[in-house]
């Protein structure tokens, strides 16, 4: 038990040390993809993003954080913020840049992605739970629970 507590504490310390990290990303925007297109940070990190366009005017709108910037060749876009919301957020081009503009997206992942874990856990629990209910359920039990609702069935059985 003691060991477990020590392990837990050290894990906590580890997450605490990575708490205030500063992360810098240089994202290149080119029709219709960002490079890198998936960026990962930890919750609480200070994130700085430099946005560089390689062809036309592009934008960068970050879901959840509501931040927006834009760039064109010769002018960079810049964002600085604290990643205080965990989960996966999509960043989208916010300046129409071509026919695939609505599909020009990237992922900004703030670890731990609790949303995903939560829903996966929920799914598994519900699945296992439903299975347990099914396996426990004996035949005809449903009928015993509410006999008055099925007079015809009962009489025909009897």
């Amino acid at each position: 038990m003691k060991k477990l507590i020590i392990v837990l504490l050290s894990v906590l310390c580890f997450t605490a040390t990575s708490y205030a990290a500063e992360r810098f990303f240089e994202i290149k925007a080119k029709r219709f993809v960002y490079t890198p297109s998936i960026i990962k940070v930890n919750k609480g990190d200070l994130v700085r993003i430099r946005l560089i366009s390689e062809d036309v005017t592009h934008g960068f709108f970050l879901d959840g954080y509501g931040l927006n910037t834009s760039t064109h060749p010769g002018q960079e876009g810049f964002l600085q913020f604290v990643a205080d919301k965990p989960g996966r957020f999509t960043f989208r081009c916010s300046v129409t840049c071509g026919e695939f503009h609505p599909y020009m997206v990237g992922y900004f992942v703030v670890e731990k992605n609790l949303r995903l874990y939560l829903f996966v856990l929920l799914t598994v629990l519900l699945g296992v739970g439903s299975l347990l209910i099914i396996l426990k359920n004996k035949p005809q039990q449903a009928h015993d629970n509410n006999p008055p609702q099925e007079p015809t069935m009962n009489t025909s059985n009897g």
């Binding site: 300046v95 129409t96 840049c97 503009h101």
Partner: protein, 129 residues
């Protein structure tokens, strides 16, 4: 019955042919009444400004240019010599430029938003004579 049949047929014709004719009619009237000239914005590789040369008589009360960006990238428009500019004209968007042609001469106009690798060639000229 015959009357209802006629109404139904009329409604169908109205909603198809009638709609198309009505829309075009309204648009033609609107263009003539409100705008001096229409300018289509396209990147140089897709045809550039159309028309690339605008001619406007000197002494008009007010010029209204209807700029339509029919492309998938953002464009801009400016005539620096006349101090006329609109900001971004997003893809599919329409902007109207108004000014009084009180100077004679030839003035270049250009795109002001980085729209393609040949953006700098997206130019045209306005002649006030």
């Amino acid at each position: 019955m015959q009357k209802k049949e006629l109404i139904a047929g009329l409604l169908v014709v109205l909603s198809t042919v009638g709609t198309v004719a009505g829309i075009y009619g309204i648009e033609n009237y609107r263009r003539k009444k409100f705008y001096t000239v229409e300018l289509i914005a396209r990147a140089p590789e897709n045809g550039n400004w159309y028309p690339q040369q605008l001619k406007i008589p000197y002494g008009m009360k007010e010029v209204k240019i209807l700029i339509r960006n029919i492309e998938t990238v953002t464009h801009g428009f400016a005539i620096p010599d006349l101090g006329v500019a609109v900001g971004q004209i997003k893809a599919g968007e329409v902007k109207v430029v108004r000014f009084i042609p009180d100077k004679r001469g030839t003035f270049p106009f250009m795109c002001t938003v980085w729209c393609s690798t040949r953006h700098m060639q997206m130019r045209g000229e306005l002649i006030i004579e």
